[in-house]
């Protein structure tokens, strides 16, 4: 199955799921004013693809959906009742690796705007988890951190600002050797406390064992409120049955700087890059209009699809496909047969070339189709093209899917008249 088919299939499943939670789709414009991007996030302006509109205004190709939806919330949707539950499925545009050209990055994500407490954060985590389980992914983890917790812990650790900067840089670079050196600059604390701080910042802890993190953080009273906020979310997540999927990583630092509270990243074994992530961004909406708390996440669709392919997962069953051809003025029989097949859920393609029987067989096989039906002077003939059905949507790009539940790979109804010899 080709990329587009996979993508649409996954988007459809996500959209259906999110709608059942009360989210509705929005389509932000494909362009974003450069001013919005500059308002939103520190690094994005560098990565965004810029161009001028006919009036000479500087625009970008949308680099980030959260910014786009924040703009919508402050303008078109400003009078809508809160909280707003919105989702999107589209591309964002980023520069390829430093000096490369622009890349369209498919995403699907959602925002909960106007929800300010643990219930909103827990809803977002639950949605992310449920979406992945729904798509058939068994093994994944949500690594959860908290921007404010990290900041307050570092302040409370008696670290001079330069050391705090060094710690943040080391966490961003994922350099634990540099982190160790930076943590050594914590003053007025024992070696044991330094060791615990280092451990707290580097080792993921299962949500079910969060008392370990609580013990570490006891030493840093500045972080108490933030930890209480995070714990409230984790408790709710536990009630929703998400605990097994969650890891606590106080040292987690995400790339975008508009996050203000809980942040998370989704990992799957065997995949180098995260499937997606998100978090709380209470300070962002105020830059576009009235201040509002907000939280959300996005899936990177290419990574999600790669994870599904690696896990041999397919959320639907491929429809059978049939090539229908006729010769010598029997075109109408072919057309009628194709129509009949389509009505029972087969994807029927009517041949519009002058290919010979052998050429038709070869064409059908290369397209990955299941059967060929020929209408000739000797009567109708059915030829099996593939060996066995391909419920996953095997080679070739034929076969859209229907949702699982519509039955297994349907048998192709036999043609009226004689059954031809199968190849």
């Amino acid at each position: 199955m080709n990329e587009t088919a996979w993508r649409r299939r996954v988007e459809r499943r996500l959209a259906d799921r999110w709608q059942t939670w009360g989210y509705r789709e929005v389509s932000p414009p494909v362009w974003a004013p450069w001013d919005d991007v500059a308002l939103g996030a520190a690094d994005l302006p560098l990565e965004a693809w810029k161009f001028l509109d006919p009036q000479g205004r500087l625009l970008t190709l949308r680099p980030d959906n959260t910014l786009a939806l924040a703009r919508l919330a402050a303008t078109d949707l400003v009078a809508e009742p809160r909280p707003l539950r919105l989702y999107y499925r589209n591309d964002v545009f980023r520069r390829l690796g430093g000096t490369g050209g622009v890349e369209a990055v498919p995403q699907a994500g959602l925002e909960l705007i106007g929800g300010g407490d643990a219930r909103a954060d827990a809803e977002v985590l639950a949605l992310a988890t449920e979406s992945l389980v729904d798509l058939g992914l068994g093994e994944f983890r949500l690594s959860v951190g908290h921007v404010d917790l990290l900041r307050r812990v570092l302040e409370g650790a008696g670290m001079p600002p330069s050391a705090r900067v060094a710690v943040m840089a080391a966490l961003q670079d994922r350099d634990h050797v540099a982190l160790e050196k930076a943590v050594a600059a914590a003053q007025g604390v024992t070696a044991e406390q330094r060791a615990e701080l280092f451990r707290c910042l580097t080792m993921p802890v299962r949500a079910g064992e969060r008392e370990v993190v609580a013990r570490w953080l006891e030493k840093w009273p500045g972080g108490r409120q933030s930890w209480a906020d995070l714990e409230a979310v984790l408790s709710l997540a536990g009630l929703y049955g998400l605990e097994g999927y969650i890891l606590i990583e106080p040292g987690l630092v995400l790339d975008l700087d508009y996050y203000s509270g809980l942040v998370f990243e989704i990992s799957v074994p065997g995949l180098a890059r995260p499937l997606g992530g998100g978090g709380r961004y209470d300070g962002l909406l105020g830059r576009f209009g009235a201040a509002e708390p907000a939280t959300g996440f996005a899936f990177e669709l290419m990574e999600l699809i790669a994870a599904m392919r690696a896990g041999d997962i397919s959320p639907g069953v491929r429809r059978p496909t049939c090539l229908v051809a006729a010769c010598n003025g029997r075109q109408q029989e072919a057309w009628m047969e194709a129509r009949r097949l389509r009505e029972v859920g087969v994807e029927a393609e009517v041949d519009a070339s002058d290919r010979s029987r052998e050429e038709l067989i070869e064409y059908g096989r290369r397209r990955g189709m299941d059967t060929l039906r020929l209408f000739t002077d000797d009567g109708p003939e059915e030829i099996a093209l593939s060996t066995g059905s391909h419920p996953e949507g095997g080679p070739g790009d034929g076969g859209a899917t229907v949702d699982a539940g519509a039955g297994g790979a349907a048998m192709i109804p036999t043609a009226r008249g004689k059954r031809g010899k199968a190849e």
Partner: protein, 232 residues
């Protein structure tokens, strides 16, 4: 959180660091890697070892084919991002340095005089550019694959930036050690997802490695993050 079904995979560096690195891993309780006779892959006692060029270790870890890898800090400086750098193993020690066919005390004046016209041959273009940029100089950096000591002798470049261990190769080619860019030792790196799905395994290994480092009495190796049962 252990992907116990599949063996943990560790990418080891070929070449000068290999023996010391393998020694450390054995001291830390890992099985010996029987990689001889041209073998590049071996699995023993639940651990899988790959043998790769030091610069390729990063690629194997980034792609997730190896959970862990060991390579020189100089390699990490040339290939940043996509992995966690976990611990300095303090072996394979050498110096990434500027070397050239001139007395060491004439180097500062030479550098000032040549400025941006300086020509440097190296296998570490990124580290070289960063180093000279820090001094306000933007030299021509010529990337070569090896045998850098030849370049200044035939006038391709003024100086080289290379890893120096004993200094014998420099001496044999009439080159002087001029200035250190950075010391380089072997580092343990990890695939980001492996740290999440094999936390306990990685944590135990780190604890053992820190114990070995402490035992070896290496300065600055006081274990900050070694896992203990008290945290479980």
């Amino acid at each position: 959180m252990n992907n116990g079904s599949q063996p943990m995979t560790i990418a080891l560096p070929k070449g000068r660091m290999n023996v010391e690195v393998q020694g450390m891993l054995r001291d830390a309780g890992l099985p010996a890697a029987d990689l001889y006779g041209g073998r590049l892959l071996v699995e023993t006692d639940g651990v899988r070892y790959l043998l790769a060029r030091p610069s390729d270790v990063v690629t194997y870890v980034r792609e997730g084919v190896a959970d862990l890898g060991i390579t020189g800090k100089d390699i990490l400086m040339e290939n940043p991002g996509g992995y966690y750098e976990l611990v300095d193993l303090q072996v394979g020690r050498c110096s990434l340095a500027v070397a050239g066919p001139m007395p060491a005390d004439s180097w500062p004046a030479f550098l000032v005089d040549r400025g941006d016209r300086l020509r440097v041959a190296t296998k570490h273009p990124r580290a070289s550019r960063d180093f000279f940029a820090g001094m306000g100089v933007s030299p021509a950096v010529i990337g070569l694959g090896g045998a850098l000591e030849l370049a200044p002798q035939v006038g391709l470049t003024d100086v080289i930036v290379d890893l120096v261990q004993t200094g014998r190769t420099l001496q044999a080619n009439g080159l002087e050690y001029l200035e250190e860019i950075a010391p380089s030792t072997a580092r343990l790196i990890a695939h980001p997802v492996s740290l999440r799905f094999r936390t306990d395994q990685v944590d135990s290994l780190l604890a053992e490695l820190r114990r070995v480092l402490k035992k070896n009495g290496v300065p600055g190796s006081a274990p900050l993050g070694g896992g203990t049962d008290a945290h479980r």
